[in-house]
């Protein structure tokens, strides 16, 4: 073992910082530091800026057109971007369907989508979950029937994040209703295809990013079948593994903790700063300990990825990372005092971009909205209970 940091990686961090100082538009950074849902336009613009620099797709190897960074550089890059307030690049495109297309898709599919993902020209909705197939994805019932060179899709998906501003939906469908998991295929569908109806679902932060999507005789060309028919389940598992490797949400946890520190230094209680309360400071310190543990397990996971580790580290990180996000959020709300109960509208959701906010400190808007929305972190990407079962079965062999 050797835990020395490569000086070249230190220099890389500086390079990323300098780039962010020059290239990240201030208004985008300001919006993204708030807890409200991000704007797709910000994400698009930022992806284009990154692509001009050759840094789009930080987790993509160079043969796919990415920068081909080592795991630790990907980690540094995400960390710096997030701390600076850069938008997430499209997780669905870069970390889920992109790698699946590049690994299993046809040459035509790679050519069609690879460059468009890198340039932020195509955004994705992930159509996996259904009303009766959430944790138990294998029991999905949306049907796709082949008719000539098209598939005809009927069914219903739910919880499809950001599909309202997506261009393409990648979805799991039943192509063989008899076989359970072998009968599942992965299809790409134009979001604007006739027969698609989208019903918005508002979350308890009163934000909008969730949807129910109805498919009524929706047609998609057979060339949009990903890989082989009936293999959708194994592609989905591949993709969910990729998703979970990042599910500690280390950068988000780190930034939220930083924000909490800033609040604790400014908020006052009974005449003293919140941070001067020993109890509050001790709980903050405890969160920092949790964060450090998460950082080092994430780093280990990234390094060991190449060697193919057996520890179900994605599940471990998912469980603790999501819990930490909720705990930090809880202390942020606490730091707001009375203003933690006030409803703040998302100013960016209004055309003027400006609202008559209720009174309170400038850092208040968005905190509670995010805290509420993040109740879902322990549910989405596979509920934590399911992750624990995976850990018990796959590693402890219970």
């Amino acid at each position: 073992m050797n835990f020395d940091i490569d000086p070249a990686d230190v220099a890389f961090r500086e390079e990323v910082r300098a780039f962010l100082r020059e290239s990240l538009p201030a208004d985008i950074a300001e919006r993204n530091k708030r807890g409200f849902h991000f704007l797709r336009d910000d994400m698009r613009e930022w992806t284009k800026i990154l692509n001009r620099k050759g840094w789009s797709g930080p987790n993509w190897p160079s043969e796919w057109g990415g920068p081909g960074w080592s795991p630790v550089r990907q980690f540094i890059f995400e960390d710096e971007c997030f701390m600076a307030g850069a938008p997430w690049i499209d997780t669905a495109g870069f970390k889920m369907i992109g790698p699946v297309i590049m690994s299993f898709g046809s040459e035509e599919m790679k050519r069609e989508f690879g460059p468009r993902i890198l340039n932020g020209d195509v955004f994705w909705g992930q159509g996996f979950s259904e009303p009766n197939a959430g944790s138990d994805l294998g029991s999905l019932t949306t049907r796709a029937v082949r008719e000539g060179d098209e598939y005809v899709i009927n069914g219903r998906k739910i919880w499809t994040s950001y599909v309202e501003s997506a261009d393409v939906i990648f979805m799991l469908v039943k192509t063989d209703p008899e076989a359970k998991q072998r009968g599942i295929s992965m299809l790409l569908v134009d979001k604007n295809a006739p027969g698609i109806t989208i019903r918005p679902i508002i979350d308890i932060g009163e934000g909008y990013s969730l949807n129910e999507v109805f498919f009524d005789d929706v047609r998609t060309p057979v060339k949009y079948l990903v890989g082989e028919e009936g293999k959708g389940w194994s592609y989905a598992k591949h993709l969910l593994d990729l998703e979970r490797a990042f599910s500690a949400e280390w950068p988000r946890n780190k930034r939220n903790l930083e924000q909490l520190r800033a609040m604790a230094g400014r908020a006052r209680a009974g005449g003293e700063r919140l941070i001067d309360s020993p109890g509050f400071a001790a709980r903050l310190a405890q969160l920092d300990v949790d964060l450090q543990a998460l950082e080092w397990l994430t780093l280990r996971a990234l390094y060991e990825r190449k060697g193919g580790n057996t520890l179900p580290v994605g599940s471990l990180l998912k469980v603790r990372g999501s819990e930490l996000l909720q705990k930090i959020g809880e202390m942020q709300v606490e730091a707001l005092g009375d203003y933690g109960a006030y409803f703040y509208d998302d100013p960016h959701a209004t055309p003027a971009g400006d609202m008559n906010w209720p009174p309170g400190p400038d850092y208040a808007p968005g905190v509670v909205a995010d805290y509420m929305y993040r109740r879902a972190t322990t549910v989405y990407g596979g509920a934590n209970e399911v992750q624990r079962t995976i850990i018990a079965r796959s590693f402890l062999e219970l």
């Binding site: 979950s129 138990d136 508002i202 209680a269 005092g337 322990t378 549910v379 209970e385």
Partner: protein, 381 residues
Amino acid sequence: MDFQLTQEQQMLKDSARRFLEDNCAFEARGSVIGNGGFDVGHWNTFAELGWLGMSLPEEYGGLGGSAIETALLMEEFGRVLCIEPYWAVAVLAAQTIVASGDQDKAGSILPALVAGEACPVVAHGEPDARGMLSYVTTSAVPAGPGNWTLKGNKSMVIGGNVADRFIVSARTSGAPSDQTGITLFLVDRSVPGVKLHDVRLIDNRWCADIDLADVQVAEADVLGTVGGGYAALDTGHAHATVGLCAEAVGVMEKALWITRDYLKTRKQFGVTLSSFQALQHRMSEMLIELELSRGMVHKALSTMNASPEVRQLALSAAKVHVGRSGKFVCGQSIQLHGGIGVTEEYVIGHHFKRMTTIEYALGSSHFHLEQLAAMERKRVA
């Protein structure tokens, strides 16, 4: 000791549950929220049923009940997530007025309150107080004989958007955290210099932030004695705290049963969710936390006539426990529902939101734990 309800108490509980489930259920809240959390019809019914005077002395038109009756009602309000400002008016304001010892003012306001005609609320909270009851920076400066000028800001005055008058705490002497030197003033909502800023809260109740810019008040507007407001606030808040904790028990309990029912019907992996032992144990923990919190409410109720110190320790302990249990029970209720739990349309997330606002009202569990920790230091020293 007897944990059984009396016949009257049982009747109160039953009739409250019936009325609230029929009229104030979650599904029916939409228009009430739009009206600033207030429905005149509901309020009149509360008055007719005697709820507004349930725990007030008979001499003021009340029914002579105690904090126990308040707690019984508040628990029922909690179950349906009632957003009407019952707690702010009929508990906090009413009990503060009684405790002020100002019989003239109590005699003129409380019968009207009981009848649903007067709607006073306490404007005491300030952003930096965070549960410290003695923390008041709003000032009352003498302005000629018998007159005062009020200046300051009050935050999160629950029901302030519909109140007809405010019981404003202001400092007539001393430093921000002193218990002495706090005076209560009755201030009409229409008095010049009172600026109200209505705010909807995340749990869909409404409050007002109040700017007091050189508000002129007279000697006749003092509630109780000059400089002697703390004791009244303390007793008013004691009733309000135990009421809030009882409400929390109602919020938790309903969340628990909604979740139990959901687990018994929702199927994944070919079986109902209720068949997973991981979830059965979670539900058991939720029930344990809920019932321990109820125990803390009982304990707090038992100290309502004890000395303020003894009472405060029990209330702080109750607030700490309820804060922890509430977060756990309502948070896990969302978790066990999965995606549907985080939707605004569905009820369970609103139990979590109400618990969140209860947790930070009248001092967070952290604040109250620190009070208890200070007590521990004294015990050991």
